[in-house]
Subunit: 210 residues, 2 copies
């Protein structure tokens, strides 16, 4: 299926059937997120994958009782780095050098740029930066899901502090940034499926510099 | 082409040939971004499309002289709303009601939620929120480009204030959030094409809650 067709097919699914998405398809959606580009290649986020109904029940009340939390097949919690610590930056470049079988000096310019770039930011700015990168990965996951005819609803209506606490994200220096409910639309009962899809006029999205 | 193959094919192109991407392909990449989901459907961003070489020359020095600015076919400047003003929020819901031929009350709950949700944020937080939404659209643009075998390099090494000034974004209450260089890789001369693609191990990206 063409990506534009797929993205027209997708919508913010509000009611899902609870049917399970095959593991192979979940793996593909995750693979797309895994291949996402990120600033200086740091991939400053993790994805907590929730398919266990007991966990979904615990998450439901901190996610404004949004039905997709429990009606999804898999709930992805995107969690961004709370900060770009020196340890984290060094780990990325040490791994890069190892994988490319190259001396440390080969990535020194990028490493030093990263340390200097993030060093000028407050921790709050660092988190916002990381969460922005996470959303590129989320975009790729949404695209991959739509191409597989699987529904994917990004959701941010949740109590981030409570969710972080529940999932123990603070101990990992992570902060939840976005939810992505993966599953199948309940065609008969989802009121949102019946509504016309609206996007602002293209002329209000795009300006071409002459 | 399969999206995973496409995303494996893509990489952060550092040298481009300057060859022009057909309009139809550019339109498709933009269509993907246009269909992106966003928080409460507000689409709080615009895309400035730069293909004029004179404009690229002006942008080059404020973008750390990154060669893709001038070697790209089209440079997309993603510009996020500086704030979620009442006017902007109202415009979205007025348009929605008009397009769906429904009374104002039909979207009141969402409208009021949006006003309350963003009303609790500082203007800086509102901008970060908007820029996060813009990155979902950027992710979809990257996916669409890869599927069309067109290179797309996200770039954030630029002086945002200077770029905003140059493009007159402040007058539109926009702030540049990300660049996306669209074009074709210079296969012979791009050092980055020859390097092994590295992503952190999948086990460090994904945690499954048992």
């Amino acid at each position: 299926m063409d990506i534009i067709q797929a993205l027209n097919w997708r919508y913010a699914t509000k009611k899902m059937t609870g049917q399970i998405v095959p593991k192979q398809t979940i793996d593909k959606i995750i693979a797309a997120a895994h291949l996402a580009p990120s600033g200086i290649g740091l991939q400053p986020y993790e994805i907590i994958v929730v398919s266990n109904p007991e966990w979904k029940e615990k998450i439901l009340p901190v996610a404004m009782n949004q039905a997709q939390v429990i009606q999804s097949s898999h709930l992805f919690v995107f969690a961004a780095w709370q900060n770009y610590s020196l340890e984290r930056i060094n780990k990325v470049f040490d791994y890069l050098n190892e994988q490319r079988n190259q001396p440390a000096s080969a990535s020194d310019a990028h490493r030093n740029f990263a340390i200097s770039y993030f060093g000028k930011m407050t921790e709050e700015e660092q988190f916002h930066h990381a969460a922005k990168q996470a959303n590129i990965a989320l975009g790729l996951a949404v695209a991959a899901a739509a191409l597989e005819q699987v529904d994917a609803t990004p959701m941010e209506g949740f109590n981030a502090l409570a969710l972080d606490e529940l999932l123990g994200l603070q101990e990992k220096s992570l902060r939840s940034s976005m939810l992505l409910a993966i599953g199948y639309r309940d065609e008969e009962n989802d009121w949102n499926l019946k509504l016309k899809k609206i996007r602002k006029p293209l002329t209000e999205l795009v300006t071409e510099l002459a």
